[in-house]
Symmetry: C2
Subunit: 415 residues, 2 copies
Amino acid sequence: MKAELISVGTELLLGNIVNTNASFLAEQCARLGISVYYQSVVGDNKERLSETLKTALSRSDVVILTGGLGPTKDDLTKETVAEVLGRQLVEDAHSRKRIEAYFAGSRHRIIPDNNWKQAQIPEGAIAVDNENGTAPGIIAEHNGKTVIMLPGPPNEMIPMFTISIAPFLNRLQPEVIYSQTVKICGLGESLVETMIGDLIDGQSNPTVAPYAKTGEVHLRITAKAPDKESAFRLIEPVSAELAKRFGNHIYSTDDKETLEESIASLLKKKNLTIATAESCTGGLVSGRLVNVPGVSDVFKAGFVTYANEAKTEFLGVSEETLRAYGAVSEQTAEEMARGGASKAGCDLCISVTGIAGPDGGTDDKPVGLVYMGCFLNGKVTVRKFIFKGNRSKIRENAVVNALIFVRDCILEDIE
Amino acid sequence: MKAELISVGTELLLGNIVNTNASFLAEQCARLGISVYYQSVVGDNKERLSETLKTALSRSDVVILTGGLGPTKDDLTKETVAEVLGRQLVEDAHSRKRIEAYFAGSRHRIIPDNNWKQAQIPEGAIAVDNENGTAPGIIAEHNGKTVIMLPGPPNEMIPMFTISIAPFLNRLQPEVIYSQTVKICGLGESLVETMIGDLIDGQSNPTVAPYAKTGEVHLRITAKAPDKESAFRLIEPVSAELAKRFGNHIYSTDDKETLEESIASLLKKKNLTIATAESCTGGLVSGRLVNVPGVSDVFKAGFVTYANEAKTEFLGVSEETLRAYGAVSEQTAEEMARGGASKAGCDLCISVTGIAGPDGGTDDKPVGLVYMGCFLNGKVTVRKFIFKGNRSKIRENAVVNALIFVRDCILEDIE
C-alpha cells in the first residue's frame, strides 16, 4: 500500500515552523508497513492544494493531509478536498455535540460562530474525534482510494493518529503489521549495523531497521502476519537474538521508555539515590533526569559548578588539584563526583567537566575534551571523551554519555 | 520570483530525520523576497525524482534540490537533473582539486574511487565550493529557469547557501532585499500583532512579519531597494518606530544574538554575577546560560534542589516555610532565590519551583503552577505563572520566562 503526505500551511512555506508532522507520519507509515514515496507542502491556497491533491490521488492509495482544518476563512483543506472528490460539505451532528462539549469545559463559554464550520465534513465521510481540540479528523473513501484529513497542531494530530488512524490503516492492509523497538545505548551506529549485518541481509519478514539518535541506536523489528499473535511469534526469536548480541547495551524494548526513564527505574529498583555535578553541561544532565515524572524518589540534588570557586566551595574540589591539573582533568572529575555524592548524601554522583568551545582549547586539551566521574559505593570511575562538533553538539553528546555512564556503573555494581 | 524546494532522501521518507533543510531554505527565500509555493520530498529514485523535477520546472523559476550528491550509487540527484536538462556530466577540474585538498587535510589519505564522481557536474553548470565536505553545490541554468543542487548535510548546506547561493539569488532579482530582525521577549504573540496591526495593514516596502517562538516574538523588517544603503534607509524608520512601541521588550536587533546571550552581555555590562536555584526546571535555566561561550565571567553556580531536603540544605529554605506553604509557593521561591544568591555569593539569583505534572496537581495548586523568585540588591521579587501543556511544554515555558524575569530585574535595577 502506498501513502502520500500533504502538509498544508503557509507557515511551513515561510519556514516559520519545521515540518515535524511529516516526519512523525512518515515514521508511523513505515512502522505500519506502508510505503511513502512523496511528501508535499502547500500553502492555504485552493488552486495549488487542489492540483497537489489530484496528483497525489493519481499515484497513491492513501493521501494524508495535515493542517487547514481550523475555523478561519484561511483554512480550506476540507473545502478543497470536498470539491476534488465532488462532494458537498454537510454538518456532522456528533462533531457539533463534541464542539459544544469542548467549549462547555473551557474558559471561553461563548462559541464563536466560525467554529461551527468545523462540524462540517464531506458527505459520506467519517468524522474522527479530536480529544485535544475542536476540528475533527476526516476519513473519506473515493474510488478505492482513501483521503485522510488531520488537524495541523501536533498535540491534536499525534493522539488522533495514534488512537484512530493507525488502527484504521492497519485494517486496510491484507495483513497486520506489528513492531517492537529494541533501544541500544553506548554503541555507535556503524558498529551496531555491523553487528546485525547478517540479520539485515536477506531479511524479509520480520525486518530489522536501525534508527540512530545522539548516543543511541533504536532497532525496530517489524513483522507482517494475519494476526497480532502470529506477528509477535515472528518478532520474538529476532528480539531474543538481539538480546543475546547486545546484552546490557539494550536499555529498553518499550517504545515509549526514554533512556532517562530507564535509568530512573533502575535507580528505584536498586534503591539508589543520585546527584549531579556539572560544569560544561551546565545543568542539562540533571535537566534530563527531571524529564522523568516522579524522579524525586531518586534524584536529590544537582550542582552546576561552572566557576572554579564553585567547584571548591560546593563540591570540595581542592584548590591544589585545580592548580596542578586544571578544571578539565581526570582528577577534578574524580573530586567533583566524590564531593557531589558526599554533599548531597547520595549513593551515586555523576560529574562532567570539559571544554565545550569555541574558545579555551589547547594542543593538550582541545575543544571537545570532556572528563566524567561516576561515584558509587565509595569508588569513582573516570571516563575521558573527545567529542566533535560545535559547542551545542559537544554538550549534547556529553549529556547523553553521562547518562549512559551512570547506567553502566549501576549495572556493573549489580553484577 | 518563484522558487520551489525538493528534498531528496529516503531517510526523510521514512521519517528517520526531520526536514530542517526545507524550513531553513524556506525562511531564507522569504527573507530574500522569493515566494515558495511548493516543497516536496522524494526518495533516491530516478523516476520519481525526475517526475517531481519536471513538475517543479513547469511552475517555478528556481528549483532548489538538497541531498543525493554523495559518492555512493544511491546518490543520483546530479545524474537525474542532467538527464532532465539533457546535459552530459563532465568533470570540473576545480572541484577535483578541491576534493584532493580536502582529503590531504584529513585522516583518510587515500581517496576512495567513488569520491571522484563528486567532481562531476552537468555540462555548462557552475560548481559551488563546499567548505565543509567533498560534494560541490551546482547551479545550472536552463531555458530561463535555474536549478540549484545543494548537499544534504545541514552543516555543509547552510554555510554554502549563506556564502554563495543567497548572494547569487539576490543578484537574480531586479532589486536587492535586506532585512533586520527585532527580537521581543515578555509579550505574547497576539499582543505583539495587535500592537503592530497598523504597520502590517497596507504595508508594502518595507514589510514587517512576526515569527513566534516560546516566550519570544521576532519581527522581521524586510526592504527591497536598488542597493543596500537605500534598503537600510527604508528599514531605519520602521525599526525606530518598533523601538518606540516595544521599548525594553526588545532584547536584540542582531539576527544571531540569543536571549541568553543578551542577558549575559547585560550582566557583564552591569558587572553583576548570577546564580540559579531550580526545582521543576531541573537545571535547564542554568543550561541555557551555559549555552553562551565565556559565560563563566558572570555565571558562578547553579543549584538543582529537586528534593525538599536539598532546598533546605543547599539554599537554606526553612523547614517551617516548606511545611506551612509547600515547596511550590511564593514563600519557598523567595527563600530559594535569597539562599542561592547568598550561598553562591552572587549579586543575582533566579529561583524556579513549580508543578510540571502530569501528577501532583490539586485544585489549589494545579499542574502548570510555577513560582519564580529573583534576588537582586537585597530584595526578592516573586512572579506566579500558570503554564498550559504537558510536562515538557510547562518546563520549556518556565525556562524562558525565568530568563525574561532575570532580564526585567536587571533593567528595572538600572533605571
